[in-house]
Amino acid sequence: MLKITNLHASIDGKEILKGLNLEVKAGEIHAIMGPNGAGKSTLASVLAGREEYEITEGSVDFDGTDLLEMATEDRAREGLFLAFQYPVEIPGVSNVNFLRTALNEIREYRGESSISAKDFMALVKEKSAIVELDAKLASRSVNEGFSGGEKKRNEIFQMAMLDPKLAILDETDSGLDIDALRIVANGVNTLKSDKNATIVITHYQRLLDYIVPDFVHVLYDGRIVKSGPKELALELEEKGYDWIKAEFAH
């Protein structure tokens, strides 16, 4: 589904990703871990199409198309979803209006007709239940006045509504208490199928108790330096990142 080859990306002239390789197949969950400043969030931003980053080398194939050539909105329409680490607030725009606009833009891109108000509301009801999101939050302004946990649940709710092929969760566990973490993880697990894939970017092993990855990758200094089964996460939790740093420092 996703094949990243020798990806180099920089911001303001500073190289952050330095030849990153990663392959994700449908039905898989990949966890990307690594110390602060390793480039985890940069990877998420580059894949989603944030303009500040300059791609200097490498390629990203997304289901047979060149992802890097696509506009940000088209990547989303092709089924790439990013759950933001810091979801932004959009005052005065209701969550439902925002999502209906998004859903209809995606449908239009795929040559489908707009969703009816009735079907849409039914979908909202069904999907908000997955993350136990209060129906009231659906009608409030996007993320405005939401608690940290509500914002993250709202991200997963949006993911459920838009039903992406590839979801990237950027530090979705940060700032969550244990209950919210469980709810968010449950949501992600419920949405998992053999047709979609998930990349979980996280700092801590904790989330991976709930979202069990097929592969764990260690991102350090702009490259994936170690990959392994889910047990690698436990090893990292136990030993920290220093041994990785020691091994790969140059």
Binding site: A48, A76, F81, G92, L99
Partner: protein, 481 residues
């Protein structure tokens, strides 16, 4: 073959025939310039009573001794007041008995204004008094309103049919001496709308007037007078559009609202006159005086969405004369390219327990300048007066400007006045968030801007709110920088 005088005469004759004109109609456009004779010409054309001509002449004298105000944060070439024709009637002056009689071409023009009159009539039951180049051409739902004793007609008709009301209230809220443009309007106004709601009557439909500036080089001097008698209610909509013009057109309207005891007037405006092109060429100059007076327990609410005009100078205000009266001002002003807007409100608290609310949302794009100018004045007898003001500015680019000039004058220590102001730049993070959800940049801006203006748009009647949202989007197309 040479073109002879005879041929010319024949051509003129033919064309007159073709358009069904009489020779008199040709002179339905006043010669350029302004003097007492022109005023007499306008008054005669409109077959006005003597008292109105006298009023006009008095106002002209006042205007002649005034100078154009220069305190606003706008700069523009001063209009040449002697280079304007002060009266133009449309080519067809016939009054229509029913909607079916209206010229199809005119209907088409109205359709181009965004919402067709027919659609409005069918969908919403809005009664529309359509003003095209100074003369009313269509009035609908008149009969239904008549049953309730509501008068909704052109200003000219009101002068003929209800002179006592016009005489009593015209100039009572905005006297000719108020300002340069009000004085000019009082001298040369051509037409406008008049509305009277009798005691205790709740007007069952939104009353609406569409203005459109049509003929090149014609100043528009509209006059609107809305009187809500004791205990009555009316919601009045005013929307404006104009086709593209290269030369600046002057518009100086006067709107007066009178809310008697326990009455309520809701006055909504969507204004999208031609703002000039991308280089700042052309566009409408809009110098408007709008003011209402509230008697005891009365309420006046102004809502405006301003996206058009090259220059806007406009301060819909409330005089809160009666005890417990309420004034509200909700405004969205958008400026793009080289547009300039200096707009806001005045809340004059005279009575006890008077309350006012000001919500102003300015959006600046391109190289435009957008100023909020507001005055909250609490007089010494206005015990327990309350005001809340919120002035927000949203910047779309690095080259535009947003300015806030709030004035507060308080002479009563029991007053409570709150003022909040924010300035923000449209967030790249917000746009990226929308893009990542599959929403195009244009739609994203539209969503964000409409969300930002929601408090104001919510004040508009439904069908107007939809039009206003579209307008905001159109006005800001491709404006993020």
């Amino acid at each position: 073959m040479s073109y002879t005088e005879n041929d010319l005469a024949k051509d003129l004759e033919n064309s007159e025939y073709k358009f069904g004109f009489t020779t008199d109609i040709e002179s339905d456009r006043a010669p350029l310039g302004l003097n007492e004779d022109i005023i007499r010409f306008i008054s005669a054309k409109k077959e006005e009573p003597e008292w109105l001509l006298d009023y006009r002449l008095k106002c002209f004298k006042i205007w002649s001794e005034m100078t154009e105000p220069s305190w606003a944060h706008i700069s523009y070439p001063k209009p040449n007041f002697q280079g304007i024709s002060y009266y133009a009637a449309p080519k067809q002056t016939k009054k229509y008995e029913s909607w079916d009689d209206v010229d199809p071409e005119m209907k088409e023009t109205m359709a181009k204004l965004g919402i067709s009159l027919e659609e409005q009539q069918r969908l919403t039951g809005v009664a529309v008094d359509f003003v095209m180049d100074s003369v009313s051409v269509a009035t609908s739902f008149k009969a239904k309103l008549q049953e309730l004793g509501i008068i909704f007609c052109s200003f000219s008709d009101a002068v003929q049919e209800h002179p006592e009301l016009v005489k009593q209230y015209m100039g009572s809220v905005v006297p000719a001496t108020d300002n340069f443009y009000a004085a000019l309007n009082s001298a040369v106004f051509t037409d406008g709308s008049f509305c009277y709601i009798p005691k205790g009557v709740r007007c069952p439909m939104e009353l609406s007037t569409y203005f459109r500036i049509n003929e090149a080089n014609t100043g528009q001097f509209e006059r609107t007078l809305v009187i809500a008698d004791e205990g009555s209610y009316v919601s009045y909509l005013e929307g404006c559009t104009a086709p593209q013009r290269d030369e600046n057109q002057l518009h100086a309207a006067v709107v007066e609202l009178i809310a008697l005891k326990d009455a309520e007037i809701k006055y909504s405006t969507v204004q999208n006159w031609y703002p000039g092109d991308k280089n700042g060429l052309g566009g409408i100059f809009n110098f408007v005086t709008k003011r209402g007076i509230c008697e005891t327990n009365a309420k006046i609410s102004w809502t405006q969405v301003e996206t058009g005009s090259a220059v806007t100078w406009k301060y819909p205000s409330c005089i809160l004369k009666g005890d417990n009266s309420v004034g509200e001002f909700y405004s969205v002003a958008v400026t793009n390219n080289y547009q300039q807007a200096d707009t806001g409100t005045k809340m004059i608290h005279l009575g006890k327990n008077t309350k006012s609310t000001i919500i102003s949302k300015g959006i600046s794009a391109g190289k435009s300048h957008n100023s909020y100018r507001g005055l909250v004045q609490i007089h010494k007898n206005a015990h327990n007066a309350r005001n809340f003001s919120q002035c927000d500015s949203l910047l779309m680019t690095d080259e535009c400007g947003a300015h806030t000039f709030p004035y507060i004058e308080c002479k009563n220590p029991s007053a409570k006045i709150e003022h909040e102001a924010t300035t923000s730049k449209i967030g790249e993070d917000q746009i990226f968030y929308c893009l990542q959800r599959g929403i195009s940049e244009e739609k994203a801006i539209s969503l964000i801007v409409n969300g930002y203006c929601k408090e104001v748009l919510n004040q508009l009647p439904m069908e107007f709110a939809v039009e206003a949202q579209k307008l905001l989007t159109i006005s800001l197309e491709g404006s993020v920088g």
